[in-house]
Symmetry: C2
Subunit: 454 residues, 2 copies
C-alpha cells in the first residue's frame, strides 16, 4: 500500500482542488438547482478514476453508477453515496459563501463539504489511487450515487429492487455523517429505524370561551396530554403492548462493543445542561441511545401560544412523535400497533398520520466481513476505529438489505461537521484519510472483503 | 313613568345620533388613540344630562365621574361603565368601517357599539330622560366611567379604595356584555373569578437530536403532559388539594334560579360540534358553567410545530391555563396552592407566572335590592329578565365589593354582540330599552333601590 499512499500524498493538492470544484457546483435536490451539472461532473470524475459509468434516470434526479472490475472471482464492494446537498439557507449565518469552499483551521467550509461530497469523492479518489498505482483492481468496486438523499431517497428502494444483479456485492460500504466519539474514527454496524407520527385531537368545532364551556367541552390539548403517561413510563420505556416483541436482548458481542466506547454520562449531562441523564434500570445510557427503541415527543401545539392570556378551549391540538426502532422492529408494524393502542385506550377518534418510516438494520459486530473494513479505517486514519453497534439516529440505508450483504457505515467527517446547518465543513485531513481508507479497503493485498453473505 | 318613556320615544333619533357621534370617536385604551377626545365628549354628555361632573387623573387614562343628587335620604345608585374600546383590527374583516357606525338589520355596527358605549351611554340618556321629565331625581345617581377596562382596569381597585365616600352607594349597577339566553333580558348576580397561569418546563439547554438523546434527556413537553392527569380528573374536577375548600354547596335559591334558565344540553353540544357535553356526576352543566370552578388548558407549545417532521427533544415547553373561580376562592390563595402542588408533585422546577387575577363575586339571588332591578329591566325590555346567579366568564367588577353594596350586572346588548371581534354591534332596540331600563330604575315611583347593605 505504500505506493498507493504515496500517490495520494503526491496528488493531495489536486484532490483538494477537484473537491473544491465539486463543492462550487450547487446540487440542491429540493429545488433542483445545479443537480444536472453536478451529475455530469461526478460521472466524469468516476470515468477519470478508471470506472465504467452509467447514468440511470428516475422519476426524480438520476442515479449515477461507476464500476471498476477486479479479477475474476475477486470480491465485490458496493459503495453508496449521494451527490445532492441541502439548501444553503439561512445564508446570513455562513461565515464564507456556501458554494465558495474556504479552508479555515484545517477544515473545508461549504455546503456539501461533508454531506456528502467530501465523503463520496474520497471514495472515487481512493479508487483512482489504487487504479493508477496498482494497474488493476484487486476487488471489483461498484459505486452508486444518488441525487435525492436530501429529499428522503424516494426512489432508491425500487431502484435497488430492480437492479439486484447489477448491484450484487459482498459488502455495502457508505461514508456519511461524522465521528461521534471525538476525533477517533469509527465503524458503524447499523442504524436505528424511525417512525414519525403526528396525532391531532379535535374537540369543539371552534375555539370556545373557557368561561362559557370550561368543564363542558373537553380540551383537545388535555386529551393529548393524557396520552403520554399511557404511552411511556417515567423510565422512558414504551407501554404500547407488543412494542418490544421484536427487540433482541443485548448480545455479549454488543455489550463488549458498547463497553469499549467512551461515554461519560456526567459530561454528557453537563454538556446539555442537565444534572444527570434520564435513567432506565433496564438499559445503560449507551444501550438506550444505540440499541434500544425510544419514543420522543418532538412537538406539541394547541390553542393560544402568544404572549399573555387568551381564555379559550381550543378546537384542535397536535403532537408530533418519533419512534426510534431497532432490530426486527418494522415501522409499518409499529404504526399499526400504535393505532390499535389508541383505539384500545379510547383515543380512536384521533387523526393519525405519519411523516416517514425508516427500517432499522444491523450487521452483527462480529461479522467476518467487518475485519477488513476495521483494518482499512485504521490504515486510513492512523488509529483503530471504534466498533459502534449502531447509530442512534436513522438513515435510509435499509434499502440495501435487499442485497443480502453486510452493510457498514464509515463516517469520514469530523465531529463538528454541522451537516444540514450553516458553516458545514469537512476536515482536510478527514478527506485525505477517507481517500486512504477507501484505497486501503480495495487495495489491501490478500485482505479479502469477506465472503458473500446471502 | 309614562312621561319618561314618552320623552325617550320623542328623543329616540337624537339619542341614536349622539351615540353614533360617540362611536365615531375612537377611544382605544391600548394605544391611547382618541381617548382624550372621547373623555371630553362623555363629560359633556353627562353634564348635558344634568349631572355634576369631575375628571380624575390616573397613571393611565382618566376616570370620569358624574353625579345627580336625589332628595335627602334617597337611596344611591352607582353606575359603572367604560368609555375605552378594543383595537379594531383585523380591519379587513369589518363589513363597514369600525368607526363609522352603520345600521343593518336593526343593529348598530361599530367598534364599541356594544362594548361599552351603547350601554353606558344608555345609562346617561336614561338619567337625562328622568331629569328632564321629572324635574328632580328620585334617587341619587353616581356614574363612574373608566378608560382602561380593555387593558385590564389596572387602576380601578385603588381608585375605589381612595374614593369610598364619593362612591358610597346602596347598589352598584353595570351594563356590559350581552344576553346569554336568547333575546330575553337577564340580571346577573355575580361573575366567576380568574387566575391565568403559565408554566414552562425547561429540559436540555438546547433542542437535541432525538436519535442521540431519546431516553437520555426527558422531554419538557412530556413533563408538562404528565401534569394534566395529576391536575384534573376525567370529570374535569380539579385535583389540587384544598381547591374546593372555599366553594359553597349549591343553595336552594341558586338551584331554583338555575332551574329557571333555559339550557338544552343536546343543542349546546350540537352547536359546538360535539356529540355531548363533558359530564360531571357532581354538577349539572349549568352549575358547572356558572357556579363551579374549572381549570382549562388554553394553550400548549413546545418543540417543532411546523409541517412534516423534525426529530428533536425540545429545550422548552409552555402551557397556559385558566382557573375559573367562584364564591370565596381568592386567586392569590389558589395561585399559592397551585405552586405548592407543583412542588409536592415533583414539578418544583417549573417556571410559573400568572397573567392576571380576578376575584369572583356574588350577590345572593334572593337579595332584596335585586327586586327593583328585576322590575326595571322588565319595564325597560318589556319582558321579565332571567335571574342568572353568575356569569361563566370573568369581569373585573370585584373591585366594587369594597363599597359593601350589592352588585348587579345587566347586559343590554343582544346575544350576537361580537364584542372584541370584527363587526361588533348593538341592537337599536337594545340601546333604547337600555335607556328605558335605567330610567325605570331611577325613576320608578316608590320603588326604592333597596336598603343600604353594609
Amino acid at each position: 500500500m505504500d505506493d498507493v499512499f504515496a500517490y495520494i500524498e503526491t496528488n493531495r493538492q489536486r484532490f483538494l482542488d477537484e473537491l473544491f470544484a465539486l463543492i462550487r457546483q450547487p446540487s440542491i435536490s429540493a429545488t433542483g438547482e445545479g443537480v444536472e451539472a453536478c451529475a455530469a461532473m461526478v460521472l466524469a470524475a468516476m470515468s477519470d478514476a478508471g470506472m465504467q459509468t452509467r447514468r440511470f434516470e428516475s422519476e426524480g434526479h438520476p442515479f449515477l453508477y461507476g464500476e471498476a472490475q477486479g479479477a475474476v472471482g475477486a470480491p465485490t464492494i458496493l459503495v453508496y453515496g449521494h451527490y445532492d446537498v441541502q439548501p444553503a439557507d439561512p445564508l446570513d449565518q455562513w461565515l464564507s459563501p456556501p458554494f465558495e469552499p474556504t479552508v479555515r483551521d484545517g477544515k473545508i467550509y461549504g455546503r456539501g463539504a461533508g454531506d456528502n461530497k467530501g465523503q463520496f469523492f474520497a471514495q472515487i479518489k481512493g479508487i483512482e489511487a489504487v487504479a493508477k498505482t496498482l494497474g488493476g483492481m484487486p476487488v471489483t468496486v461498484k459505486v452508486l450515487l444518488e441525487g435525492e438523499e436530501e429529499v428522503g431517497s424516494p426512489h432508491i428502494a425500487r431502484f435497488i429492487a430492480q437492479n439486484k444483479e447489477l448491484l450484487a456485492a459482498d459488502l455495502v460500504y457508505c461514508s456519511d455523517g461524522h465521528h461521534n466519539y471525538g476525533s477517533r474514527p469509527e465503524v458503524l454496524y447499523g442504524v436505528r429505524g424511525l417512525l414519525y407520527v403526528e396525532v391531532t385531537a379535535t374537540g369543539p368545532n371552534r375555539d370556545l370561551h373557557s368561561g362559557n364551556f370550561g368543564g363542558m367541552a373537553d380540551s383537545p390539548i388535555e386529551r393529548l396530554c393524557r396520552l403520554i403517561p399511557l404511552l411511556k413510563d417515567t423510565d422512558n420505556r414504551v407501554l404500547v403492548p407488543g412494542f418490544y416483541d421484536d427487540v433482541k436482548a443485548l448480545s455479549a458481542a454488543d455489550a463488549a462493543a458498547l463497553a469499549d466506547l467512551p461515554f461519560d454520562a456526567s459530561a454528557a449531562a453537563e454538556n446539555i445542561g442537565l444534572e444527570g441523564l434520564a435513567g432506565d434500570p433496564l438499559a445503560s445510557p449507551l444501550e438506550k441511545r444505540l440499541l434500544q427503541p425510544t419514543l420522543n415527543v418532538n412537538g406539541f401545539r394547541g390553542g393560544y401560544i402568544g404572549k399573555g392570556s387568551k381564555t379559550i378551549i381550543p378546537s384542535q391540538a397536535t403532537m408530533k412523535m418519533d419512534f426510534r426502532l431497532v432490530d426486527a422492529q418494522q415501522p409499518e408494524k409499529i404504526y399499526a400497533m400504535f393505532k390499535a393502542f389508541l383505539e384500545a385506550e379510547g383515543f380512536g377518534d384521533l387523526e393519525v398520520t405519519h411523516h416517514g418510516m425508516m427500517t432499522p438494520w444491523r450487521t452483527p459486530v462480529d461479522h467476518p466481513a467487518a475485519e477488513p473494513v476495521m483494518r482499512a479505517v485504521e490504515k486510513g486514519f492512523g488509529e483503530p476505529p471504534y466498533r459502534v453497534p449502531s447509530l442512534g439516529g436513522s438513515l435510509p440505508l435499509a434499502a440495501f438489505t435487499q442485497l443480502g450483504a453486510p452493510i457498514f457505515l464509515v463516517p469520514y467527517a469530523q465531529d463538528d461537521e454541522h451537516n444540514h446547518s450553516p458553516n458545514e465543513s469537512m476536515g482536510v485531513e478527514n478527506y485525505i484519510n477517507g481517500i486512504r481508507t477507501m484505497a486501503a479497503l480495495i487495495g489491501g493485498k490478500g485482505e479479502r472483503a469477506g465472503g458473500r453473505d446471502r
